[in-house]
Amino acid sequence: MKTTLSLLALAATVALPSVASADTLRMAFSSAPRSIDPYPFGGAPTASLKEHVFEALVAADDSPLLAEGWKWTSPTTLEVKLRDGIKFHNGADLTARDVVYSACRMAYKVDGKRNLLTSSMGPIADVVAVDDLTVRFETKAPYPLWVQKMKFLSILTASDADVPAGPIKFDAEGDCGIAAYPTRSDFEKGDAAIGTGPFTMVSFDKSGEAELARFDGYWGEKSDWEKVEVRTIGNAGARLAGLFAGDFDLIENPTTEDLAALEANDDYAFTSMPSWRSIFLVMDVNPEGAKGVTAEDGSAPLANPLVRQAMSLAINRQAIADRLFGGNATVANQFSPSYRAGAPEMPALEYDPVKAKELLAEAGYPNGFSVDFAAPADRYANGARVAQAVTQYLSRVGIQVNLKTQPWSVFAGQRKERELGLFLYGWGHPQGPAQMISFAFASRDKALGLGSSNYSNYASPEFDAAIKAWAVETDQAKADGYVADAMKAVMTDLPGIPLYYQHSIWAHRSDLEVKGRQDERTNAAMVSKK
C-alpha cells in the first residue's frame, strides 16, 4: 500500500502542469469554430473566435464599440460616428469606407450561399460614407433594431489590393463594384483575417484549432496574453482531463457533475455566469389538437389555457436548478432571462401541484391525458435529465408523459416538420427578449420576419399588436413598454413554459481571474492573471 501511495505521489509530481509559457493562454472550446471568416456562420464557437480578431460598431451588450455614438436623423436614417484613431492589424486607419466595404461583404454571397447573418441587414437600402468618420445607414422601412443588429457587422479593412480606390457604392447584392472579395480560405489562411480586434490571427484549422497573437496597436485595454492557443475538445470528460493534465489553462462547459471535483482541488476553480440561454417547454396550442397528444374525450388538452397553467404549476423549477445543476441555473419567470437588459419585471412562477390537479380537473381532465414529450439528448447541459425531471413532475399531477429523447439531428428535423406536440427547447438570443419572443410566439409574418419559429401555433392579437408596435418603435422607453405588454400576454397564455436560465461555466487554473460572459462566448480578454 505504501509503495502504491509513493508511486502515486511520484506520478502526481511528474504530471504537474508544465506551463508552456507564462504569457500563453491555452483554451479548450467545447465545439469547433467553423471559420474565421466573420460572415457565413452564426453560433457561439465561431463568434468566440472571430471576436478576438474582428470588432463591430456595437458590442455584444449593445454599447458602442468601434462607434462613438449614433443618431436617428429620420425614422429611416441612422448616422453613426466612428471612434477616431483606431488601427487595423495591417496598420491602416479605420474609416467609414471600411464600414461600407464590410456591409458589402456581409451582403455578398460567400461560396454562392446567402450568409446566415445577412438576414439581420433586413431593410437596409444604402450604406454611405459621409466623411472619414461618419457612416449613414438608410433603410426602406423604419428599422430601429439595426442599432442592435450592427453587432453582426464585423468590420473588415478595405485596404485589400482588390478593392478599387475611391468611394464604394453599396448595393444589396454585395457587388459594390468590387472585383473579387477575399474568399473564405483567404480568411482561414490568415491573409484576409485583418480586423481591429485585440489579437491577430496566426493560424486556423477547421478541426477547431487556432493560434492568436496580441495586437500591440490595439486601441482598447491590452490583454495579459502574448499568445492564445485554442483547441476544440468535444468530450467533456476529455476536456476536464486536459485541464487536470496541464494541457489547458481554461476550458469551456465542464459538466455540472464535475464541479464537485473542481471544488475539491485547490489548483483549479470554476467561474459560473448566468447566460442568455433560456430553457423552456413548447406546446402546440392548436385547437384542432397536437401531434402525440391524446385525451379520452378526443379533445385538444394543450389548447386549453387552464391545462397549460396546470403544467406550469406542476413543475418544481427550484428543485431542478438545485438538484440537477447544483445551483448553476436560475429559475425562470419569463421566456427570456429576467436579468437581461430590456426584460420586463414579472412575478415568480409558482410550484403548486395541488392547484395544478385542481386546474386539470376544472379543465375537464381529472384523469389527465397522454402526451409525447420530445427532448434533444445531446444539445443542452443536463438536457436529458431535465426532461426526465419534467416527466416526473407532470406524471405526478396525473398527466401520462411518454418521454422521447433523441439526438439533436433527429429532434430538429421533427421540430421543423411540426411533428412535436410538446418539446424541450433552449434559446440564447443575442438580441434580447423582444427578438426572442417575436420569433417564437408571434403569428407568422414573412415580410416582417415575425414568428419564423412559432411552433406553438400561438396566435394572440394582443401579443401580435405589441410586437408589431415594438418592431418600429425608435424610442427605447416606449419599446420596452411594448416588450412588457407582449411578455405579459405570452406569460398569461403560456404557449410554452419557461423552466430555467442556463449558466455558462468555465473551469480554469485557480491563479486565473475569469470574468464570465452572458452570451456563452469565450474570449481571452475575459481571462487575466491574478
Binding site: G237, L240, T255, E257, D258, L259, A260, A261, A319, I320, R323, L324, A377, D378, A384, R385, A387, Q388, A389, T391, Q392, S395, R396, V401, L403, K404, T405, Q406, P407, V410
Partner: protein
C-alpha cells in the same frame, strides 16, 4: 443399445459433472433470470414509474432513506431512482432483449441456412451472398445505423440485434446441412415422396441444429453486451426505462465527482451475468467438440 437411454436431464447433468465453474455459472444464470422475472414483486421501487421518482431523492449514497420511506441499499441516481431496483428492472430489459433477439435471429438464420443447403442454385447464392455481406460489416456499426434510421426503443433495439444475429447461424447450419444432404436417409425420404418442407423440418433440422445450440449462449451474452453498448451510446432503450447499459452511461458522468455507486453496481451485475453465461457456454462448446470429449 442395451443400456436404457439417459433422460435429457441426466445428459445435461453429465455435461457439467466435475466442472464447478460451469455449475456456478449455471446457478448464476438461474439467479439472474429469476431476479429479472420477479423484479416487479421484489424490487423496492418501480424505477419506470415516474410518479414514484423524485429528483429531490437524487444522488443519495448507498443506505440512504428516500422521501417515500424506502431504504436505498445501493444508493440513487440523479433522478432519484433506487439503483437496486433499477438494476433488477434493467436486468429484465437486458435479458429480454438479448433472448428475444438471439432466438428470433437464430431461428431466421437456421431456416435460411437449411433452405440454402436444400435448394442449392440461385436460392443458395442469394442467401449466402447476403450472409457474406452482413458478416463483412461490423455488427455494432450496422446496429447504430439501423437505430439512427428507425429511432430508439426496445423493439428497435431487438430488431437491430436480430439483423446482427442471423447471418453466422445461417452459415453454420448450411455447412452441417450440406453434409447431411448427402446421406442416405435423405435420399430415402425423397424416394418415399416426402415434400421438401417435411424433409427439412423432420430430418434436416434435427440433425443440423446442434452446433447452433452450442453457440447460442455465447450469442446471448454477446447480445447483452451489444444492447448495453447501444444504450450506453444513447441509441438504445428509452431514457425513462434504463437497461444496464444506460444505467452505466448515466453514472459515468458522475464518476469523477465521487458518486461511484450509480455505474459501479449495474456494471458489476452486467459483468457477472456475461461471465456466468460465458463459462456455461464454454463448457457446452468443449463438450460438443469431439477432440475434447475424450477428456471428460
Amino acid at each position: 443399445m442395451n443400456k436404457p437411454e439417459p433422460t435429457a436431464l441426466q445428459r445435461f447433468a453429465k455435461i457439467f459433472r466435475g466442472h464447478p465453474m460451469a455449475i456456478a455459472g449455471l446457478f448464476g444464470i438461474t439467479f439472474f433470470i429469476l431476479v429479472a422475472i420477479f423484479a416487479p414483486w421484489i424490487a423496492p421501487q418501480n424505477p419506470y414509474d415516474q410518479m414514484q421518482l423524485d429528483i429531490l431523492d437524487g444522488l443519495l449514497p448507498p443506505g440512504s432513506t428516500l422521501g417515500t420511506g424506502i431504504v436505498s441499499i445501493l444508493g440513487t441516481d440523479a433522478l432519484g431512482r433506487d439503483i437496486l431496483s433499477a438494476v433488477m428492472y434493467g436486468l429484465r430489459i437486458s435479458l429480454f432483449v438479448a433472448f428475444v433477439a438471439v432466438l428470433v435471429g437464430s431461428g431466421i438464420g437456421v431456416i435460411l441456412g437449411l433452405l440454402a443447403a436444400q435448394k442449392r442454385g440461385w436460392v443458395e447464392t442469394v442467401i449466402m451472398r447476403a450472409v457474406d455481406l452482413k458478416i463483412s460489416f461490423p455488427g455494432i456499426l450496422l446496429a447504430l445505423m439501423l437505430l439512427a434510421m428507425f429511432g430508439t426503443g426496445v423493439d428497435k433495439v431487438i430488431f437491430a440485434l436480430i439483423i446482427g444475429a442471423w447471418a453466422s447461424k445461417a452459415r453454420l447450419v448450411r455447412a452441417v446441412a450440406l453434409s447431411e444432404m448427402k446421406k442416405e436417409y435423405i435420399d430415402a425420404a425423397r424416394l418415399a415422396g416426402l415434400s421438401d418442407w417435411r424433409i427439412m423440418t423432420r430430418f434436416l433440422l434435427p440433425n443440423s441444429i446442434s452446433p447452433v445450440l452450442v453457440v447460442l449462449p455465447m450469442s446471448i451474452s454477446g447480445a447483452i453486451g451489444a444492447e448495453a453498448t447501444l444504450s450506453f451510446l444513447g441509441v438504445g432503450v428509452p431514457i425513462t426505462e434504463p437497461s444496464l447499459g444506460l444505467l452505466i452511461a448515466n453514472g459515468n458522468d458522475y464518476l469523477l465527482s465521487g458518486k461511484w455507486w450509480i455505474s459501479i453496481f449495474p456494471g458489476l451485475v452486467l459483468v457477472l451475468m456475461v461471465l456466468c453465461i460465458n463459462v456455461v457456454a464454454d463448457r457446452l462448446r468443449d463438450h460438443a467438440n469431439p477432440y475434447l470429449r475424450g477428456k471428460d
